[in-house]
């Protein structure tokens, strides 16, 4: 997966970006610094435009996505790469062979970077073992979504100036959330105090061992929080007897002005999108420009993905830090 010994002095000493779990705090901070520099540049920055010129970036999405795919595509284009989007319908991958068959076929076309989303945990790691280019995990099952965690961290840093010591409350469907897992890894590595808040049915087993404090009472969990990170509740969870109804869920775990009172007065609200208004978050609150940073998250997504593509292709381009 990664081989730090091979290129110890590199800016980013891994071949792929498969998850936050394998990264050090220094590596994360460097990626965030680079992301910040991209966020500050004008869209038509000429130096950036030529960085990936002649490189091929493939978006390989085995799961529907609009915003992540678009964000990666835009990031790659702003760096001057040739971008190809491949949407593989979920029905045709039920037989797992297709994943590696597809990987090998695409690999033969020689992409420099493969950006992969897959509904199964571990699938992106499996694919990365079979290709020559760099692989970016754009979300695998419930496992990891590293660029989302990086863009969340960048947004927090811009709004709060730091991550160390902040109280971050991650609320909602933690069980099924790769965003939650990547954020827990990243925020705890950078010294934040991370809480998870969810009904017990949506908490994964022994989540406390990942270094978080666990709350089932949202009001207690929000106390003094600097950041309130809401997760999407997939409505099909109603069938699995995870929660009895949307009404009950919103009553106890939906974020509204009343519950937000308990957090710090200047606490920011985040959401990875797409939102279910009125399920996990009050519609008006989601649009409150004084509290919600959801728009900024989307904006930072492009900068973070530019930074990741830059970092992963530095060895290829021969550039130095």
């Amino acid at each position: 997966m990664s081989d730090p010994a091979r290129k110890p002095a590199a800016f980013y000493p891994h071949r792929h970006l498969l998850g936050i779990e394998g990264l050090s705090a220094d590596e994360i901070t460097r990626l965030l610094d680079l992301s910040q520099s991209y966020a500050e540049r004008p869209k038509d920055d000429h130096r950036a435009r030529s960085l990936l010129s002649g490189r091929t970036v493939m978006n390989l999405f085995f799961e529907n996505s609009t915003r992540t795919l678009t964000s990666f595509e835009l990031a790659a284009k702003r760096l001057g790469a040739d971008v190809i989007n491949m949407a593989v319908s979920t029905s045709s991958i039920k037989k797992g062979e297709t994943l590696l068959d597809t990987a090998m076929t695409l690999n033969a076309m020689g992409p420099d970077v493969l950006i992969v989303r897959h509904p199964e945990s571990g699938a992106v790691s499996l694919l990365s073992q079979k290709v020559d280019g760099a692989v970016v995990n754009a979300g695998d099952g419930r496992h990891e979504h590293p660029t989302q965690a990086l863009l969340d961290a960048l947004t927090i840093r811009r709004r709060r100036g730091r991550i160390q010591g902040l109280i971050v409350a991650i609320c909602g469907d933690v069980l099924h959330s790769r965003v939650a897992r990547s954020n827990i890894h990243l925020l705890t590595k950078l010294g934040a105090k991370v809480r998870v808040i969810a009904p017990t049915t949506l908490l994964p087993s022994q989540i406390d061992k990942m270094g978080v404090e666990v709350f089932t009472d949202m009001r207690k969990g929000l106390k003094d929080a600097d950041v309130v990170m809401m997760l999407r509740l997939q409505l099909e969870r109603m069938q699995g007897a995870y929660v009895p109804s949307i009404r009950e869920y919103f009553h106890f775990y939906g974020l509204d002005y009343d519950k937000l009172e308990i957090a710090k007065p200047d606490a920011i609200i985040m959401h990875p999108g797409p939102m279910n208004r009125g399920v996990e978050i009050d519609s008006e609150l989601a649009d409150d420009i004084n509290r919600s940073v959801i728009r900024e998250q989307v904006e930072m997504g492009v900068a973070v993905r530019m930074a990741c593509l830059d970092a992963l292709t530095r060895d290829l381009t021969g550039a130095n830090t």
Binding site: G122, L126, S205
Partner: protein
């Protein structure tokens, strides 16, 4: 190329032309507590005599003599749970290749599961296996019948007639019988014929959708977990039914401390309950999965370290009666997929003995008690005449170099499939020779 070869495939099946004497062996027979230096004299496929008096001198004229160099000679191993994929999935394994693997692993008898294609739920299927077994000379092959038709958990098979055709027991293989009423009827009906019912112990609804053991590692990997209590829940349900019916009930591949406890209590109570485990459950834990290694995906799943230790202890204590390989061949396509989609199971015929011997080498269990789990105890449960070194018993024997250190090399395996989690693992102890009815069916390199 393989470093080992099977021998004797083209010899005549029945009549032993020359008597065979195995001398200078450490004879271990768990059934009679024999552990002494001596020899075995074989005539016509049967053990004629054995003991310290069998030496190079005084043998019948023309006897073939094999000097065992002090290695352990024990009854041939009986593996009570294998899948050979024939009929139906011959690209993964066949009765022929499975028999080669068995002989190389010191296994002289094995019992296949009914989850073939077609499923073994009628007399014709059982008779097909019996015929293929007769044609295959390297190991004795038996089968279980399905417990319910098409393994659907609804209608009982013709248990009595299948047993007459040779089925040694009844099981829905990898499926637990979910319907309590069906399980009740199956146990009640089996009682009339004294048949053995074997259960895959997992509460199916609780385990549904799970890919590995529930816990911290599953949470980190983002994989849906199977709670360990799913095992004991089904066993405890069944034990109530066993108590009502008085039937013979066997729990396959026990993997948790809680299940061991439930079985211990049932045995103390006097219920007709037996169980087995497979080497992965006392030699590996869930950490083996690492970065989504599908070769470590089993059913039941590899558990936590506490459960692993409990299984090793239960073998030592004798609560677990048998060790079976749970040989489950899978082709590359079934395993080289995302973890949740991958097939469950590992091959085990050629690692059963060396991995199990780890329990002897680390002083968890005596050699005789360990071998008992793979010889006389399964023979008793299955009602087979072999599994012992005794006058008049079939001359099924395995010669073992206890001390030989080597690394497991899956590339050298005879099995058609290579899905073993043990490749490269250092082990101590190796099969030197295997005999079935007095015929040598395997000899390790350098022993010819």
């Amino acid at each position: 190329m393989s470093t080992r070869q099977a021998i004797g495939s083209n010899r005549p099946p029945k009549r032993q032309t020359r008597p065979l004497a195995l001398v200078n062996a450490r004879l271990i027979d768990p059934a009679s507590n024999r552990d002494e230096t001596g020899g075995v004299l074989v005539e016509d496929g049967v053990i004629r005599d054995l003991g310290p008096q069998i030496t190079r001198t005084g043998l019948p004229e023309g006897a073939e003599v094999i000097d065992c160099n002090g290695d352990v000679l024990c009854p041939g191993l009986i593996d009570m749970r294998v899948q050979l994929r024939e009929p139906g999935e011959e690209h993964q394994e066949t009765i022929e290749t499975g028999s080669l693997a068995a002989a190389a692993g010191g296994v002289t008898s094995m019992v296949t599961l009914p989850n073939t294609d077609p499923i073994l739920d009628d007399v014709a299927g059982v008779e097909f296996i019996a015929r293929r077994a007769r044609e295959t000379k390297r190991a004795k092959i038996y089968c279980y019948g399905a417990l319910t038709r098409n393994l659907e958990g609804k209608d009982l098979v013709e248990m009595g007639m299948l047993a007459e055709s040779g089925a040694l027991g009844f099981t829905d293989a990898l499926n637990a019988v979910a319907d309590t009423q069906v399980m009740r009827r199956a146990l009640n009906y089996s009682k009339a014929f004294g048949l053995l019912i074997i259960q895959h112990p997992e509460e199916p609804r609780l385990a549904a959708g799970g890919a590995m053991n529930n816990g911290e590692l599953a949470t980190r990997l983002g994989l849906p977990g199977i709670p360990a209590c799913a095992e004991v829940m089904l066993i405890e349900r069944d034990l109530h039914l066993v108590r009502m019916s008085g039937a013979r009930y066997h729990v396959a591949h026990v993997s948790t401390a809680a299940a061991v406890e439930a079985i211990r209590n049932a045995k103390q109570e006097g219920l007709h309950v037996t169980c087995d485990t497979a080497p992965p459950y006392f030699s590996l834990n869930e950490a083996e999965i690492g970065d989504y290694r599908t070769f470590a995906k089993l059913s039941p799943p590899l558990r936590g370290e506490n459960d692993r230790r409990a299984i090793a202890a239960a073998v030592a204590e004798g609560i677990i009666d048998c060790i079976a390989s749970d040989h489950s061949p899978h082709d590359v396509e079934s395993k080289r997929v995302p973890f949740a989609q991958a097939a469950c199971g590992v091959i085990g015929l050629e690692t059963l003995l060396p991995v199990s011997l780890g329990l002897y080498h680390n002083r968890s269990v005596s050699l005789s008690n360990l071998l008992k789990c793979m010889t006389s105890r399964p023979a008793e449960i299955l009602g087979l005449p072999q599994g012992r070194l005794a006058k008049g018993a079939p001359a099924d024997m395995t010669l073992i170099d206890l001390e030989r250190q080597h690394k497991i090399d899956v590339a050298s395996f005879h099995s058609k499939s290579k899905n073993s989690p043990y490749d490269g693992r250092p082990v101590q102890g190796a099969v030197r020779r295997t005999f079935v009815d007095g015929r040598q069916v395997f000899a390790a390199e350098g022993t010819a």
